[in-house]
């Protein structure tokens, strides 16, 4: 092991403690029997049982999952095309605007993205009658728009690191560019597309602010439901819900990480 200075080492310890102690405290208090969220009243799993009986939570979760799957799939479709265009097509007309529109949604403050999309939907409804109500479809469109940026960047960086000679050889041998794309490029960028899909899925599942803007009455996603409860303070059932979410996410990330490492090994 290369020697770390004592300062760097203690900053590492402090940094990781800072990142993880708050999460651990949520896990610990989710097993607290007391209704008062911060006073320990003995071990219990009753908040988990109550959570599973809560229809509101279940239906919000299902809506969130439905949106996340649709948005991630659309975002992967558009984002992959955009990533290929940016790294393989050289200069084309309007490229600068394209790059700007791809990367801006990643950092744009969420309140702006949310407000602008809501105003678009309201205007569209005035002009065409669609969308007659806001919910699943409008949230999916909003999430697709900001998540495709992440997919495009992942695909683009994968393509940038990849040798173009295979594709060029196939085209020199007479392959149609579209066939070359399907038979050679796509299999090579498949891992990047999977990573992009997963990231888009997580971002969609996580979003609160944009969904709050573009959703209508009755269209409550899981983060929106959590936010409406959390506004009033810490509650034990949200601790239990948070613990379950952290458990699933960590398991998913660990599996993806292990597979990724195994694939990279020759």
């Amino acid at each position: 092991m290369k020697r770390q200075s004592r300062f760097v080492f203690s900053m590492l310890v402090f940094g990781y403690a800072f990142l993880y102690v708050p999460l651990l405290s949520v896990v610990v208090y989710s097993f607290n029997d007391s209704k008062l969220a911060t006073i320990w009243g003995g071990f219990s799993t009753r908040w988990y049982v109550e959570l599973l009986k809560n229809d509101q939570v279940i239906s919000a979760l299902l809506l969130s999952l439905k949106i996340a799957i649709s948005a991630a799939t659309l975002a992967t479709f558009f984002g992959t095309m955009a990533g290929i265009a940016l790294s393989r097509f050289g200069r084309f007309r309007g490229r600068n605007l394209f790059t700007g529109m791809i990367t801006s949604p990643m950092v744009m403050p969420e309140v702006i993205t949310g407000l602008s999309l809501l105003l678009l939907f309201v205007t569209l409804q005035q002009l065409t009658g669609w969308p007659s109500q806001r919910g699943y479809a409008t949230i999916t469109i909003a999430h697709t728009t900001f998540a495709m940026a992440y997919v495009a960047v992942i695909v683009q960086s994968r393509l940038a690191a990849m040798d173009q000679s295979l594709e060029e050889a196939a085209m020199d041998l007479g392959g149609h560019p579209f066939r070359v794309m399907i038979d050679i490029t796509l299999p090579l960028i498949l891992p990047a597309m999977v990573a992009g899909w997963l990231l888009a899925f997580t971002l969609s599942l996580d979003d609160l602010v944009i969904a709050s803007f573009v959703s209508g009455p009755g269209g409550s996603t899981l983060p929106m439901l959590i936010f409406s409860k959390v506004k009033l303070g810490v509650t034990p059932d949200i601790n239990a819900l948070a613990t379950l979410i952290m458990l699933f996410v960590s398991a998913g990330v660990l599996v993806a990480w292990t597979i990724g490492r195994r694939m990279r090994r020759p």
Partner: protein, 298 residues
Amino acid sequence: MSAVTSRRGDIWQRFAVAIPYLWLLVFFLAPFAIILKISVADPVMAQPPFTPAFDDAGGLQISADNYAFLLTDKLYAITYLKSVLMALSATALCLLLGFPIAYGIARAESATRNILLLLIVLPFWISFLLRVYAWMGLLNNYGVINNLLMWLGITEQPIPMMYTDFAIYIGLVYSYLPFMILPLYATLERMNLDLVEAAQDLGATSSRAFWDITWPLARPGVIAGSLLVFIPATGEYVIPYLLGGPESLLIGRVLFDEFFVNRDWPLASAVAIVLVVLVVIPIVLLQRYQAKAAEQTA
């Protein structure tokens, strides 16, 4: 690519560009034009609650009233200023905390390094809202930290931390720290550490070696990380709402309330346009740096 094949691929290439392009024009660029349009309308009691751009006679009816109001009302100027200052301070804090961590990760053995990186990325995948929520339980007057302090006898009365600017800073640094660490790590990992050792062998003190060698080499990462923290933090809504007090008004929350509570859509649009103007320069800077970094890896 030869001219012949590229001509054959033309239709397909145009198609592959046109589809995401159209999507972004409709769902990213057009909405900004609409915000701009509504920001020069007047609020009315109607559905939707603003005046149309053309009156019944077909005359243009726009007004700069909303912008004039934003510029003359002190409260808004102070709110913008405070949002930018808080985002800047949070960026500086992230840099102070993130730099040694990124440095430590970059210098670790490759097996440990992968695990350390995974542990930085993991919270990013866990819900943003729940990570902010976790601090509500810690900072409360009867929360974990105050309970611990009182149990240790350090304080008798709980120290008020929740609903203060302190809590907002904690939330900002906590949520955005990974965005600072990852680009810093990327530049520090590529850095040739022999340079630092050589400088020290030649008699440079470690602080001299840091400022003359490590810092300049790490600058692209510092700039990218700072912009990735600063831009979204400026318009942050959830953190000031959940952790901040009623008097700690930040612009993201003002926009949200102006829209949903006061239902003044034109004013909310004007607030958004001014916020866009504030962040557009940092966004362009960030894109320049990312393009440069992409060229270097290619």
